[in-house]
Amino acid sequence: MKHTKMTHNAEAADEKVFLGFWIYLMTDLLMFAVLFAVYAVLRNNTAGGITIAEIFNGPFVLTETMILLTGSFICGLAHLIAEKGNKRKTLVLLAATAVLGIIFLGMELYEFHHLISEGHSFTQSAFLSAYFSLVGFHGLHIVAGTIWILVLMAYVFRNGLTPGNIRKTKLVGIFWHFLDIVWIFIFTIVYLFGGVL
């Protein structure tokens, strides 16, 4: 009797956390929506500077995308494995996600550095301001997600796969998928529309 009540309470707490987290994600998505809208308005305001077609490097962006998608897949696996109670594998998979995230960040920073060193900084035109902000805002989220995964690994390492840690694994997975979806939109709207169409 007592036991069922406790699990019931834990489930109710879980429900609250997930609802709150989803609402948070929606607020975050709205911030991205502003940046997307701003990008759509300003994409042709290049003020005589570089255009998106000149920035677009197909294979490079596709590699970035594949790295992020793989990370997301692995993160999903981490949650499934965590549910099964395999601590070591969970840690490995989480570490793999974090590494892929860091590689993605490295590629993005390389791209930014490359642009700026060629004189196409975010001050050059409204288009570049919008481009750097939108892609950079996504990058900031990846930084946050990576820190979160590292902290989560510390948790799992210290306390094992407690229900709380399994929940956190699931949350981080949702977050990572969310970033993935946003990236798909960046890939499509910024890079494909700009470079191919």
Partner: protein, 654 residues
Amino acid sequence: MNEFIFGKLTLAALPHEWFTIGGTIFMTGMVITVGVLMTYFKRWKWLWNEWLTSTDPKKIGIMYIIVAGLMLVRGGMDAGMIWLQQSIAVGQSHGYLSAQHFQEVFTAHGVIMVFFVTMGFLFGFLNYIVPLQIGARDLASPFLNTLGFWLYVAGAILINLFFVIGGEFAATGWLAIAPLSGTEFSPGVGVDYWIWSLQISGIGTTLGGINFIMTILKMRAPGMSLMKMPIFTWASLCSMGLVVTVFPLLTATIALLNLDRLLNMNFFTTGNGGNAMMYTNLIWMWGHPEVYILMIPALGIYSEVVATFSRKKLFGYTTAVVSLLGIGGVALLVWLHHFFTMGAGSNVNAFFGISTMIIAIPTGAQFINWVLTMRKGRIRFATPMLWFLGFAATFTVGGMAGILLSIPPVDFQLHNSLFLVAHFHTMVVGGALFGIIAGFIYWFPKIFGFKLNERIGKYAFWFWFIGFFVSFLPLYILGLMGATRRLDHYEASTGWQPLFIMSLVGFILLSIGTALIIVQIAVSWWQKKKTQDTTGDPWDGRTLEWSTSSPPPHYNFACLPVVHSRDAFWEIKQQRKQKVQTAVQGKEYEEFHMPNNTALGIYISGLALLLGFAMIWHIFWLAIVCSIGIVFFVIRRTFDEKTEHLVKVAVTQP
């Protein structure tokens, strides 16, 4: 080296004009007085443990109301300064304020009244009343709640800090419209103070919005389905839904403006392809719903007041809920009516004009609800009811003016005139602020355990009601005569001065009204033994907050109530009268968990305040330190395992 350590901050930033020196002396005087009193009465520890670090939504609610009250005085002084300037700066005389200073004053007035007064009162009521109304013991996330409150306080401190350090505030109007707010036209730190103050408090508001939605959707007492929720809770849910929809837009927009100023980006600049009109669009996409965020909970308060003081259930509950949702929904589709003059073309203007007019329909439905609730009711004209009736009059005037303004050709004439200023003050003061005062008097006995003096309250009401029309009706006329808003000087030949002076007289009446409210609180406190509320139900209320003692215990309910109908407490009372001993209230006492106090919200907000300050003055090393600190404390919080304590049955059982 100096530049690395102090950024743009130099000795020149210290106060050196009469108003900054005055403000600084006033504020340090206040801080020192409070500090001395606290030390003298040895209350620091009590303050820290019982209030500042509390996670009890009731205490946080009271703190919100206190801060908002202080800011109301601050914003009110700004209003007085504007009125005084406008009544004397005619022809030869240029008044006592420079144009720059006048602009800063009206900017500060708008920002403070919207963000720190009305929002503060609103979150105060939500914190105190919503958990009680839905039969919950606390909020879904007590930590997010204290964090949100302290971020709001950090924003409030930052917006007053410019007096002491920097001495200039944004001179751009409350929305900091670009490109005026860019570095090209506003090179000083004023706009940066505006940016960081709103950024910090805005994030707090978003967190609050998420928290209240979680609370209302997941923590209602057993049996309380959505359509059995008290109407104020419904209004809060609508309002918080708007908060989480539009505050992210504000955060993103201000961030872009900040990037323009900080990193020389070109979103809203005049050159390099920037698009200033985009800023106007983005900020009003937030700004218009923001007004409804303030207004909708006030509508909820009126519904509670009317039902209680008419001793009837609210007429047309479902219509009222649908109206609230409708107002909230359409609010997202009208932002362009703030700038019909942009030149978007007649079709776009027609769309936004019509969608604006549509808002009158759900609002009108609300009025029908109230009128039909009062019909055949046994109405008591207690002060909250008077404020409601006053609102009904002012809001109708303001609403009609709003309908006029929603017609694009009319708006082309009245755009940026005092007619507009009069309109939105009628809505925000006569609508939201009257509702806040009504709610304050209505719930005061619940919060403090004694009633407010009715007689002084009625005097205060009449001063406010008459003062309101005396001060704002002239503005309608002035607007039609062609007076634009934000005038720091005009010619005597316009013949406007008598009306401006009349308006100033109205302000004096409003000030007397405000003073009377303060007197009312003081006198009632003095006589509180006489007016003590021992029943917990001084107004013969209908909803669950009146079923607890006044003030309620920190856990709100020893046994969670079981709800069968809309006016849950009214039903309990009816059944008590008929001596029906059904299982209305859960009889079984059980132990439960309550959240512990935490100071992390204060630490994080303190760092956010420092971060804002560092970014305003370009002290980047400090900004980095603060950011790392914030991340550290957030992670630290997730490692806290014991955030709750057990409340034993022995404590709660009578």
